[in-house]
Amino acid sequence: MALSTLLISLLVTSVVIYFISKVSWRAGAILNFLIGVFLISYVFALHIGVTSNLGTLFGQKLQLTWTHASYYFSAVSLLVIVSVMLFAIKWLDSQKYPAAFNMFILMMTAGSLGVFMAADLITLYIFWEIAVLSSMLIVPMGKKESRKAAVIYAVMSASGTYMYLYGAFLAFQRYGTLNISEIARHMVSDPSTGIKAAIFLLLASAGIAKSGIFPLHTWLRIAHGNAPDAFSAVLSGQLVKLGSYVLMITVAAIPSLRVFGNIPFYSGIPATNYFLIALGATSIIIGTLMAIKQDDMKMLIAFSSVANGGYILIGIGTMDPMGFEGGVLHVFNHAIAAAVIFMAFASVVYRTHTKKISELGGLIHKMPITFLAYLFAIISLAGIPPMSGFISKWMIYQALVRKGMFITAFIAFFGSIGSFLYVFRPLAGVFLGQLPKKYKDVKEVPPVMWIPMMTLVVISLVIGIWPFPVLQPIEGMRMDYGIAPTMRIADSSHWLIKGFSGSWNPVLVFNLFIIGFVIAYILYTMFPRPKKVDLLAPHKEEGAPINIYTGGEYIYTPELYHYNTKFYAGFERMYEKHPSWEKVLEMLAKFFHDLGEWVHGWFFRPSPSAYTFWVSLTILIVFWVRW
């Protein structure tokens, strides 16, 4: 099947799915899942270099082509989407509009695949809008705030997309082509730095808006925090990666080191790239600091997506072989981790109907599998071995240290250690600690919901131990873009990952782990067996003995003995009065609103006489100019 046939039939199928779902939404969801599985097998079977025509526009061929980058990004996206589709087979029964959800999620899949396959800027734009619009229509299916969230999402996304479109037309006007590789070729030989920089930044702004990079990051918290719970997993795990893809296209497919070689800024990195890196670094700071103080667990991870978008941008922006591979690998790691985390949260909300950390607690003994999924996902997100998240962070650090970019490195370290802080908050507040009495009958979610989470966790763990299957397409991409093609980072014959400053062996690290655990377990069994006691004396009558240290108090209300509000109070106090970009935007919005009111007030006075005055004036003018 040609690529164009595939995409168009997917779009048509999505409408069919809607009508099937109207009859039985579960049949639609299962069909969706089967289509997803088919897509995965299709993607793995495709050969690199396949092209296909979509049509013509402005005398330009709209082309699709299958590259290493398309393969990698499509595979990651489908992994996330298919898991969510499986998850949705059960989860959708808590939703109001399951039929529309089924339709839009398939439409969005088609759109995203189209973006990754597009060979020219307009095809990319068309599929981009399909993906964005269909995802935007899912967002308002959530709770009360969701409608406003969808509007903000649309506006922010549009502001990025219009800049992108303007950049595409600028490139078309100057070079007479929309094909990405042609534009790249022309840009290398173009003498005008100003126009090149304009095209570069305009194209990149779509990516900046989509991957939630400062200053266009504000929609991400609102949309991800308020979207239907399982869909947040797609938003954060997959859709944000469209932005990373566009950023990668602008920075790497257009060889920015050669194009902007005449404006080096620091350590051989051009000023344009450094500008993007600075934006990424700002996003890390904002995302980390804001995530630490959130009480809403979905908002917390939404802010962490802002920070991780920053990591990806920093990695790719350096255009260093290590940094590029690290940034691209981070796409995979963050996609998997964020998807699992959001699905785990969706499971919690599915059972408890709240997403406030301060209202939850102690769910581990009720939902142990969800807890384990969350635990492994945060280990990956925080970049701790043996999960795959560590590998990409290690590569990005290698690049930053090699280039001597200490301030960016400092921010990256801050984001990394900050991520220990914020991922621990839901762990402690939602899953560990005391179980509030109202949740004593909560059950684990059914297997349909935990199987996708656990599958992704296992994939992340396996890639953490044996990363070479994922590193291979990334190396292929690096060769395609000509970034230090002679250097080899993944040395699978010696089981080593090589950086500029030494190597390490992921298999060995994992084995050490296992040995450490075995020794610890042997020590554990050597000594007397413990007596199992309850936390506190929950759900028992007054006067029962209390099992944990309470300083001599008798406490029978578990909620009172659970520390989950303002977890890092000491640290949060230090930046209570922080400047807020959202407030600046709100002020701007208020200004334009007032301006509009003022103009509106002039033309639409709420009095009949003013109305008559304006109508007669208009008629007079029309007569006068004789239209």
Binding site: G362, I364, L375, I379, A382, I384, K393, Y397, V401, R402, G404, F406, A409, F410, F413, F414, I417, F420, L421, F424, A428, L432, G433, G499, S501, G502, S503, W504, N505, L508, V509, L512, F513, I515, G516, F517, V518, I519, A520, L523, Y524, F527, P528, R529, P530, K531, V533, L535, N547, I548, Y549, G551, Y561, Y563, N564, F567, G570, F571, R573, M574
Partner: protein, 296 residues
């Protein structure tokens, strides 16, 4: 196979060395405060007493957290080079960032298990410990990054070889001093014992530990101290053969104990302000010197 024996030897050395040093540390603190203090082998007695008592467990996550803490820290201790290439169990994987992040597994396991005990004092302690990590790690990582940039390697045993010409502490004195200040925070010695603060929050994470749990986490703490001080000795004091390595290790420990025995405790935000003030500034200054090539 040789590597496995070396790794095992690491664990044995770490256990006996640090446990005796802890006892000696108690003795030194006591002498500074004009007390007599316990004998140097007191910590062995304490440990085996704790291990032999019948404990209470607060659920499977409590057990799992303790295992993860001990296992993760042991895994890290096995990678650490003890002073020279010969005492490096895994020369291909002794990368600094690998060690640093592997080390985080133990911390995460401990944090998880202790919060799993359901006691808010433990949660408060863990929240303080993580915040403290944010404090001391940043200057430390900047200093180590500039070291890696300077020597063009992050492999610890190669860093040791590079220091043949002169200790890194003398090559970049500023960096060495900052790393030592960060080391104090890492060790959780006063004035940075905010996380455990016995009189304030009932020993923080350790509140619910009984019997062998206390003992196992004590062993974990022993390995953690081994990793932290070894990194400092290897990266800044040039390692050396096994004997010299031990001497340097003991000197660093005694110095840390002596400093901590005369200082009171910081509050949590004071600690952050401290680390993000002068030490972080000096760490950046050190990085600037390295970039400009102004090393001694």
């Amino acid at each position: 196979m040789v590597a496995a024996y070396k790794a095992l030897f690491n664990l044995v050395v770490a256990f006996f060395l640090v446990l005796s040093l802890e006892g000696i540390g108690r003795k030194i603190t006591a002498r500074i405060q004009r007390r007599i203090g316990p004998p140097w082998y007191q910590n062995f007695i304490d440990l085996f007493k704790a291990l032999s008592k019948h404990p209470f467990s607060n659920g499977w996550i409590f057990d799992f957290g303790v295992l993860m803490a001990l296992g993760g820290t042991m895994a890290t201790a096995m990678v650490i080079p003890m002073g020279s290439a010969f005492w490096t169990p895994f020369p291909n994987s002794d990368n600094f960032f690998v060690i640093m992040y592997l080390f985080a597994v133990g911390a995460l396991g401990m944090a998880m298990g202790m919060v799993g005990s359901g006691n808010p004092w433990s949660s408060i302690g863990v929240s303080r410990a993580l915040t403290q990590m944010l404090g001391y790690e940043l200057p430390y990582l900047i200093v180590i990054s500039s070291t890696i940039f300077h020597y063009k390697t992050a492999s610890i045993h190669k860093l040791i070889e590079m220091q043949r010409g002169g200790w890194n502490l003398l090559v970049m004195p500023l960096g060495g001093i900052i790393a030592f200040v960060s080391l104090m925070g890492m060790l959780g010695k006063k004035p940075f014992d905010i996380a455990t603060a016995p009189a304030e929050i009932a020993s923080g994470p350790m509140t619910e530990l009984s019997g062998k749990y206390m003992g196992l986490l004590h062993i974990m703490h022993v390995f953690a101290i081994f990793v932290e001080i070894s990194l400092f000795v290897d990266i800044f004091l040039g390692g050396g053969n096994f004997g010299w390595y031990l001497v340097k290790f003991i000197v660093v420990w005694v110095l840390a104990v002596m400093i901590s025995s005369v200082l009171p405790r910081f509050r949590i935000e004071q600690m952050i302000k401290f680390y993000w003030g002068v030490p972080l500034g000096l760490a950046f200054l050190n990085a600037l010197f390295v970039l400009l090539g102004w090393t001694l």
